[in-house]
Subunit: 311 residues, 2 copies
């Protein structure tokens, strides 16, 4: 009866990883982060802490840690890689929130970095958090084998660069009509944009766990298929929340994407069709996990959690 | 008579490396950069090319390539690592030029990225160029040994993050009185700030060459000492050019740092004392290179070039 063991309970494991990740990020961004430096840009460190600490579900680190566990990789290394991924994710939030980008004042119920500090500091915070992500992945504590670490660096860079997250944000700004006349994106164009902008990092979380666990090629393929499915599901659920959620629960402005006319599958297909798509993606995630049997139950739960979350 | 061999001529070698680096960067940022991607954020790629291509001395790649050559490392891998370093350097220029930061309209005689495109694009260009730098360093073509590549990733991250370049830019903005009352920095504070903001990447260039060449510990220490000396010299020469140069030759606004009251050794000590410091740093660089004998003559020439350059 593994589902009755508290260690296997989804909510408890999600919460435990979030707590450990928060503590780890706190240490990585503490004063010790600059030990040995003669000058300490304290304002930058404080603003980096504002960007990264203060809660959150830590979904990406959780997916990384649980995928790594599926393949028997050490938890400490996976938590460290998860912290790196969270730094990368938070950098993208800080830059996306800037006035020149999406111009958001609120994030997780708190002022965004450029509101709490200023635009210049927020730009530097994002820059330094991206750097820190690669710094962390290069550390021997992530994995003793340099080949594993360099694979993580390479995969994170591909997921977040011009062919991934940053490119997706560019396509998103273009789709809003920022640089030329606004045009309606096709369903496939929306799927590609979202796979780049938000899907790629979620997919990386899963791939990174398989890399850390030195999974065989067919297992990696299955995990990658799972990651692609839940990455797409995550964004659709997010777009439904933007339409149906309220700002207090979300900790950020609701209805904003719809008001900006952002291209989403919800706006393209309607909410009912988007919900049907979510069901299909859950089925796809389950199918991808089938070869792993019962031991993948936390990842199955994670797919459902992503679809059903309220914030 | 090695100095009469054209292959040993400093200007010819500097020019050859710049040409090869430009061609390599053009390939890295060409359409093939997104081969296999279904969506192409062409605007982002075009703006990245604007930021990176179009000339420049490519001093950092040159230092990397020449240090690597000193230790017998392959030229192709060194050029690729140099291209990565140039992407990192160019990202910092794009972000520093933003209106929220130093607000510069001109760079290398051409409009800065946010002037040629817009602020949002410029933010994404910087972000994606930083990512590309780590992407490139992780590639097997840089070096067959993953331990060497991960060492490069780690060193570049340390040189450019909160304890290096980004932290130095933060200290520089603070010294301008951006966040609190302006105060006069001590000579040591200026040296530390500049060692972080601009010195760290130049020092990395030299260290990276030694890493690629798998140099022994004492040789690495010597190269690091050389890199620290020329890094400091570079900034002093830059500050003298800001005071004494003209905008046409510089390709950017002259006198701007002085007008902004930037903390420099030229403003703190005066131009004559700053020039004396440059002489001392050349002597320091020569002393650090002494163990390498005649074969380090290009690096000796590089130190003099840095001090005597007119742009």
């Amino acid at each position: 009866m593994p589902r009755m063991d508290p260690a296997n309970d989804f909510a408890a494991r999600l919460s435990a990883t979030a707590t450990e990740t928060e503590a780890l990020l706190g240490r990585l961004l503490g004063n010790a982060a600059l030990r040995g430096e003669t000058a300490r840009p304290e304002r930058l460190l404080a603003a980096m802490r504002h960007a990264v600490l203060g809660g959150g579900k830590r979904l990406r680190p959780f997916l990384l840690v649980e995928t790594a566990a599926l393949f028997g990789a050490g938890r400490d290394g996976a938590l460290l890689a998860g912290a790196a991924l969270e730094c990368l994710h938070c950098y993208s939030l800080v830059h996306d929130d800037l006035p020149a980008m999406d111009d958001d004042d609120l994030r997780r119920g708190r002022p965004t970095v450029h509101k709490a500090f200023d635009d210049a500091t927020a730009i530097l915070v994002g820059d330094a958090l991206q750097t820190l992500a690669f710094d962390i992945l290069a550390r021997p504590d992530v994995h003793t084998d340099a080949n594993v670490r360099i694979a993580l660096v390479s995969e994170l860079a591909r997921a977040s660069g011009v062919g991934g997250m940053a490119g997706g944000q560019m396509l998103d700004l273009a789709a809003e009509g920022r640089f030329a006349a606004k045009r309606t994106l096709s369903e496939n164009e929306i799927i590609t944009l979202q796979a780049m902008k938000t899907g790629a990092l979620i997919r990386f979380a899963c791939r990174a766990g398989a890399i850390l666990g030195e999974a065989k090629a067919d297992a990696r393929t299955g995990i990658d298929r799972y990651g692609a499915a839940i990455g797409q599901a995550f964004q659709i659920a997010d777009d439904l929340l933007d339409v149906e959620g309220d700002s207090t629960t979300l900790g950020k402005a609701a209805g904003k994407d719809a008001a900006a006319g952002k291209a989403t599958l919800v706006s393209a297909l309607g909410a009912a069709a988007a919900r049907a798509r979510l069901d299909a993606l859950i089925a796809e995630a389950d199918a991808a996990l089938a070869p792993f049997g019962a031991k993948a139950h936390i990842l199955r739960d994670a797919a459902r959690f992503i679809v059903q979350r309220r914030s």
